[in-house]
């Protein structure tokens, strides 16, 4: 084997050896580049405005919650304790307004609109100012109520007043 052949054989062997050594590196690089291209092309990574949107939604949520909290009224929980408390509140309002309680009955309500409710029938005696004060007090209660019936019977200054008040109860929206 002459010099040229020897050199050629050596060169080929070195080429094969170098290729054998470098091919795994090349394969790794190709594999990683493919994986990275896949990740870069995926819609998840592409400059998503999610953080900005999330911040907006959280802001809206906080604003909405704050608005809800600032309303100062809510629906009465559908529990015996809450119903009793409501009756107590009504009684207190009556006393504060100066009305004279004749009777107070609690009845199951048929619902007001889309809301379940329970009704309280009141018969009281008092003048127009006391009634007005009672109605204002009723409207300032934390729980939502609705005067379904109001009947002022004939009389002098002190009149007999019949009222049917619906207390709206919580239900799932």
């Amino acid at each position: 084997m002459n010099l040229s052949t020897n050199i050629v054989v050596t060169a080929v062997l070195l080429l094969v050896l170098s290729g054998g050594l470098l091919f795994p590196i090349h394969s790794s690089i190709t594999e990683l580049e493919t994986a990275i291209a896949g990740l870069e092309d995926s819609s998840v990574v592409v400059a998503s405005p999610v953080p900005e949107r999330l911040a907006e939604v959280n802001h809206d949520l906080e604003a909405m919650q704050a608005s809800l909290d600032s309303r100062g009224f809510e629906l009465c929980p559908d529990t015996p304790e809450a119903r009793n408390e409501m009756e107590s509140l009504l009684h207190t309002e009556m006393m504060e307004a100066g009305l004279t309680r004749i009777s107070m009955d609690r009845q199951a309500g048929s619902g007001t609109g889309a809301f379940p409710s329970f009704n309280i029938s009141l018969i009281v005696e008092g003048d127009a100012f006391e009634l007005h004060a009672f109605l204002q007090g009723l409207e300032s209660l934390k729980w939502v109520t609705r005067v379904l019936k109001l009947e002022i019977q004939p009389g002098d200054v002190e009149r007999r007043i019949k009222m049917q008040i619906a207390v709206l109860l919580e239900n799932e929206p």
Binding site: L21, I29, V44, L61, L75, H132, I152, L168
Partner: protein, 464 residues
């Protein structure tokens, strides 16, 4: 550590002395030792006596163990130059085919068309073997073995046709040639007589087809002797540009064409193997460096790509987590909105206290409201209105907001019919009632005898 730029070592092996020369960093290093039969020892002594660099040597043979001759082969000769040389030495007691190796250098006449000039040299096999054994034992790389006398031509360069006289310890060598090519060589015992020198120069001129030479360049000749030569030869006698004491050793140490080589075939094979090994070493080294660099760059690239992949994966995970958080937040927002709308729809669209206040405060002084009956009932919506409302149902009406109406039935006693109408107008003017109707109004006589107007008014306020 300073790396010295050194050429090969030219070693002249003669009968009684060993000489060597080498160019190291542009300077000439020379040495000379006696040859005492033990070539290896003498050679080792020679190479250690001066600061020679490396192991590459070109060995030149001089003295009784070598024969150098110039021949002329006329054009059209029946035998080749090689055959002529072999024929010339046939029957020689010393340099015959059995005892000596023959090497022939052939050159055509400088004028062209003339006879071929042949320089042949023969070296005794025994001396070649002796040299190779010594060199091998001293681990010297023998690049070539040649006749030292012929190598002297390479000692210095010249242009055009030249004739030279090289004086060694035992012989005078007359050489002639053109540029770097030696075409004629004759070795005679020194000192050569002027007559013989003139004759030799004339013969050389004749062989080289020239009328004569203008200058004789001499090496190893004393200045006085050169002056005498000038007188006797009638031509200029000069020294080489760089004075050279041992032209043979310097010639061996100088790169150039080797006319007659006596390197044994096995040594040539070893030389090729050494060259192959050297080239392989360089190639492997270069390939190793390239692979190492490529590998390093490759691993750096892999590292960089892995970092990027990790970053992208983390970004993807973050994005997915943010998407999930967004979905959860949107769901919660929907719930809160729904709860807010639900709660907003639960509250009556009116204040009963305000309605009552409007009803009672709008009444004139001369009016007595005997009874008031207020009913908060669902509104009756006719079909056409329902259809119209259905279109805007999604936009304006939530399931929790349903239209209702507050119906107030007022009965009382007023001073006059006009007061009743004024009261009804007043109720409308409040803007709270959409419908106010006087259902009944009749003149009555009161107990005190005065007249009055008994009335019934229906008022409706739309709400939700």
């Amino acid at each position: 550590m300073k790396v010295q730029k050194a050429g090969r070592i030219g070693v002249v092996v003669s009968d009684q002395v060993l000489r060597a020369a080498q160019r190291v960093d542009g300077h000439l290093v020379t040495a000379s030792v006696p040859f005492d039969k033990d070539l290896k020892r003498s050679l080792k002594q020679l190479l250690t006596s001066s600061p020679f660099v490396g192991k590459d040597v070109v060995v030149g043979v001089e003295g009784s163990r070598v024969l150098v001759e110039s021949l002329v082969v006329p054009p059209g000769a029946s035998k080749s130059a090689q055959a002529v040389s072999a024929e010339r030495l046939k029957g020689d007691p010393v340099f015959n085919e059995t005892n000596a190796a023959l090497s022939v250098a052939v050159a055509s006449s400088p004028s062209g068309g003339g006879p071929s000039m042949v320089i042949h040299a023969a070296v005794i096999h025994e001396r070649i073997a002796q040299i190779m054994t010594a060199c091998r034992e001293l681990q010297l790389q023998v690049l070539a073995v040649e006749a030292a006398a012929l190598a002297a031509w390479r000692a210095w360069s010249g242009a055009g046709l030249q004739v030279r006289l090289v004086r060694t310890a035992t012989a005078d060598i007359v050489q002639a040639g053109m540029d770097g090519k030696l075409l004629f060589c004759r070795i005679v015992d020194q000192p050569i007589s002027s007559i013989e020198l003139r004759a030799t120069i004339s013969r050389a001129a004749s062989l080289l087809s020239t009328d004569g030479f203008d200058v004789l360049t001499c090496s190893g000749v004393e200045p006085e002797e050169r002056h005498e030569m000038v007188k006797e030869l009638g031509m200029a006698v000069e020294q080489p540009a760089e004075p050279i004491d041992d032209a043979e050793a310097v010639g061996l140490a100088t790169d150039g064409v080797i006319l007659t080589e006596f390197t044994p075939p096995e040594e040539r094979l070893l030389r090729i193997k050494r060259k192959v090994r050297k080239v392989r070493t360089y190639m492997c080294g270069a390939a190793g460096v390239l692979v190492a660099v490529a590998g390093l760059l490759g691993y750096q690239r892999i590292d960089s790509l892995k970092t990027r992949q990790l970053l992208l994966e983390q970004q993807a995970q973050s994005a997915q987590a943010a998407e999930a958080a967004l979905a959860a937040a949107q769901a919660q927002l929907g719930l809160v909105k729904s709860a807010a709308e639900h709660l907003a729809g639960a509250r009556p669209g009116h204040h009963m206290s305000v309605l009552f206040s409007l009803i009672s405060n709008t009444a004139p002084e001369q009016m007595i409201l005997e009874s008031i009956k207020v009913d908060d009932v669902p509104a009756h919506v006719d079909d056409s209105a329902r259809k119209d409302k259905k279109k805007d149902k999604d936009k304006e009406e939530t399931p929790t907001t349903q239209p209702r109406v507050v119906e107030a039935r007022l009965a009382g006693l007023a001073g006059s019919d006009a007061a009743v109408r004024d009261y009804a107008d007043g109720l409308i003017a409040t803007g709270a009632f959409s419908d106010v109707r006087i259902e009944a109004s009749e003149r009555v006589i009161l107990e005190n005898g005065s007249g009055g107007e008994r009335f019934r008014i229906f008022a409706a306020a739309e709400t939700r």
